[in-house]
């Protein structure tokens, strides 16, 4: 096993990986950007190296600076987390060249997974059903128009090099096709440096179901019970659960078998996920995620397996310390993503500084967080600040636990997705297990959010009282003229409020 591990990421995932490393007696080496000098992940690592400026390209995506840090700190392995360089085959290759173990799949399998068309073709050859679509780059609008007519509307443009829900564009009518084609190309070029698109049939009322797979060095494959991630907005996941309320045990066996077979066929090693769309009683292949995923904790909750530990074992040449029969599921787990975004303003990013931070606790509650009270949330990176995960004996019990946990989670100073979760966890469709990928938009959950939470209601009460007392009408200028209250007077008043002592008479100044 390695003794020194460099974690090439930030925030909650860097901290989560370091936690397992520490448990295994591995020295954790973090990296941070100039904007993250005071970040929690920097303080959590055994040591941390500043790799560059605030922009991702200068720091967390800066391959040479990260490799230099790895060599300077004598790291034997690099864990890339998710996002950033986690699915960059060039980075995996450079690690191999430098003799540093990359905790993830081999560069070749990663490159194939990252090419959406190549992975569709490979999975079809491995015998997996693949979502209806066109397995080549669509070069012109006319070509797209002809192909869309054959597939039938609605259709979905996807970037061949895409990921993270970016570069997808849904088209409902032929007249919108040309504009969607051009905008999807420019988004793909800007985000992935490659404008190439292909076309898929857009499946309405489909569910997003995925299978976590682990493949050891000798090719032994393990498949975990599916996760359902249908609760999304703008193709980005907000709530995930396992097992899916829609999958029967016979279907589950087929799904797991297909996922393991698919990844083995491309020479995949380590942890990966195969995503499927489930619709009309059948599943079809969507894409491969060649990394540890954000939502991996729910699988850990229902199986008791530490996936990062398995990743490190496999990367150091061992096999996963499990057998398929040990992966029986206990109960149900849910995850809510807590992002620094304002759900009442269409998920507008809300960077800033957290002034109050208090996590929920209790049986079956786990919080993977990258922040604490006083943490700054820089505008340069992903908005995910924490993942709230609960486990219960049944789906309805874990939902009730989550309802309590999102009420109790108190984050002030920036807006978060907590008000969305408080509202969404009461949607009848969700409670009944009736999920589909466009449900957040279709149910207009966001438009129907009434309250931000208990703290904002207290602020509303304070605002009303200040208005009634005429304090607002006095304006801010008055605050400057007001003499400072002495500590003695304050102590006197406090004792008056507490019902004891001799108070300074309250001056009716306000």
């Amino acid at each position: 096993m390695f003794r020194r591990l460099l974690i090439a990421n930030r925030g909650e995932i860097a901290i989560r990986v370091a936690r397992t490393a520490r448990e295994m007696g591995i020295h954790s080496i973090g990296i941070h950007s100039q904007a993250d000098r005071d970040a929690l992940h920097r303080r959590t690592m055994d040591e941390s190296v500043e790799v560059g400026g605030p922009l991702p390209a200068q720091s967390y995506l800066n391959i040479e600076a990260i490799l230099r840090a790895a060599k300077e700190t004598r790291a034997e392995a690099v864990h890339p987390g998710y996002g950033f360089l986690s699915e960059n085959a060039g980075f995996a290759r450079r690690c191999e060249e430098e003799g540093i173990a990359f905790v993830g799949p081999p560069a070749k399998a990663m490159a194939l997974s990252g090419d959406k068309i190549a992975s569709r073709t490979a999975m079809r050859e491995a015998g997996l059903p693949v979502t209806a679509g066109v397995d080549r780059v669509v070069r012109t609008v006319d070509e797209a128009r002809a192909l869309a007519a054959t597939l039938g509307y609605p259709v979905l443009f996807k970037a061949t090099a895409g990921g993270g829900g970016i570069g997808m564009s849904r088209v409902d009518r032929p007249k919108d096709l040309a504009a969607a084609f051009e905008s999807a190309r420019s988004v793909a070029r800007a985000n992935f440096g490659n404008p190439d698109l292909f076309l898929e049939k857009f499946l309405q009322r489909a569910r997003h179901v995925e299978v976590q797979v682990l493949i050891g060095g000798r090719g032994k494959g393990l498949g975990f019970v599916e996760r359902e991630c249908s609760v999304q907005r703008r193709h980005q996941k907000l709530v995930e659960e396992t097992p899916s309320p829609a999958i029967t045990s016979s279907l589950r066996r087929k799904l797991i078998d297909a996922a393991v077979r698919g990844l083995r066929s491309i020479g995949y090693r380590n942890a990966g996920t195969v995503e499927f769309l489930f619709h009309d009683g059948r599943f079809t292949f969507n894409e491969v995620n060649a990394r540890l995923q954000v939502e991996h904790p729910i699988t850990e909750m229902v199986t008791g397996v530490d996936l990062v530990r398995q990743q490190l074992l496999i990367a150091s040449g061992h096999e996963a310390e499990l057998s398929q029969s040990e992966l029986a599921v206990r109960g149900h787990a849910l995850e809510c993503r807590i992002n620094a975004e304002d759900p009442l303003r269409n998920f507008l990013p809300s960077p800033g500084r957290i002034v109050t931070y208090s996590e929920p606790v209790g049986p079956g509650v786990r919080v993977d967080s990258g922040v604490a009270a006083g943490s700054g949330i820089p505008p340069y990176y992903d908005p995910l600040v924490a993942k709230l995960v609960v486990h219960g004996r049944t789906r309805s019990l874990s939902i009730r636990r989550m309802q309590g946990a999102v009420e109790a989670f108190d984050i002030r100073g920036v807006h978060t997705t907590l008000p969305f979760h408080r509202a969404f966890l009461r949607e009848t469709s969700f409670l009944r297990g009736n999920l589909w990928t466009t449900m957040v938009a279709d149910l207009r959950t966001i438009e129907r959010i009434r309250s931000r939470g208990p703290w904002e209601e207290t602020v509303a009460a304070i605002a009303a009282a200040l208005t009634v007392r005429g304090r607002v009408a006095m304006g801010p200028a008055l605050a400057l003229e007001r003499p400072r209250t002495s500590a003695w007077a304050l102590a006197g008043r406090r004792s008056q409020f507490e019902g004891g002592g001799h108070a300074v008479p309250s001056r009716r100044r306000w």
């Binding site: 605030p54 922009l55 620094a340 975004e341 304002d342 009442l344 303003r345 507008l348 990013p349 809300s350 960077p351 800033g352 002034v355 109050t356 505008p379 340069y380 990176y381 992903d382 908005p383 002030r412 100073g413 807006h415 008000p419 959010i449 009434r450 309250s451 931000r452 703290w455 904002e456 209601e457 207290t458 602020v459 509303a460 009460a461 304070i462 605002a463 009303a464 009282a465 200040l466 208005t467 009634v468 007392r469 304090r471 607002v472 009408a473 304006g475 801010p476 605050a479 007001r482 209250t485 304050l490 008043r493 409020f497 309250s506 306000w510």
Partner: protein, 164 residues
């Protein structure tokens, strides 16, 4: 009345209006119907089924047993974007501020340009999301105060427009 209310360091945009069923209080765009009844040194505030006993004292406010520090750094139209600055016959200058901090990725206008309402002036990126900052009205651009690649805070003026 619109104002900025800071409670224990947490800043909120607040709007309090008198409505038919009491006060209409908005906190960062979340709306509450509030009944506030002064009783001696306390204000009894009802929101839905919950009730709060609020006591204001200097720069502290007590809600039930809990004590909070508060400040009102801005009152009235200060948060209305665009902010009206000068009234010069029919023309007025308008400061355009971003709805969030971020990095300027593209500037699409130059001083002297005429813009239509809703036309994108600047594209701002924060947290991997691009936001187009639109012109609030038909106007002429008199000044652009940011550069591409620059990081801006939420209260920074990014452009000045003249509306006729």
């Amino acid at each position: 009345m619109r104002f900025r209310l800071v409670v224990d360091g947490d800043s909120h945009d607040v709007d309090v209006e008198t409505g038919p069923r009491g006060l209409q209080v908005r906190v960062d765009d979340a709306a509450y119907t509030v009944v506030a009844r002064p009783a001696q040194d306390t204000v009894v505030v009802r929101i839905g089924r919950r009730s709060y006993r609020v006591r204001v004292h200097g720069d502290r406010v007590f809600v039930g047993e809990a004590s909070h520090h508060f400040a009102i750094p801005e009152v009235a139209d200060l948060d209305e974007r665009p902010t009206r600055r000068v009234r010069d016959r029919a023309r007025r200058a308008v400061d355009v501020r971003p709805p969030m901090p971020g990095r300027v990725v593209r500037i699409l206008v130059r001083p002297g340009d005429r813009v239509k309402k809703g036309q994108t002036l600047v594209v701002l990126e924060a947290m991997k999301m691009q936001n187009e900052i639109p012109a609030p009205a038909d106007a002429r651009v008199t000044d652009v105060r940011v550069a591409e690649g620059e990081s801006v805070t939420g209260d920074r003026v990014i452009a000045v427009l003249e509306i006729r």
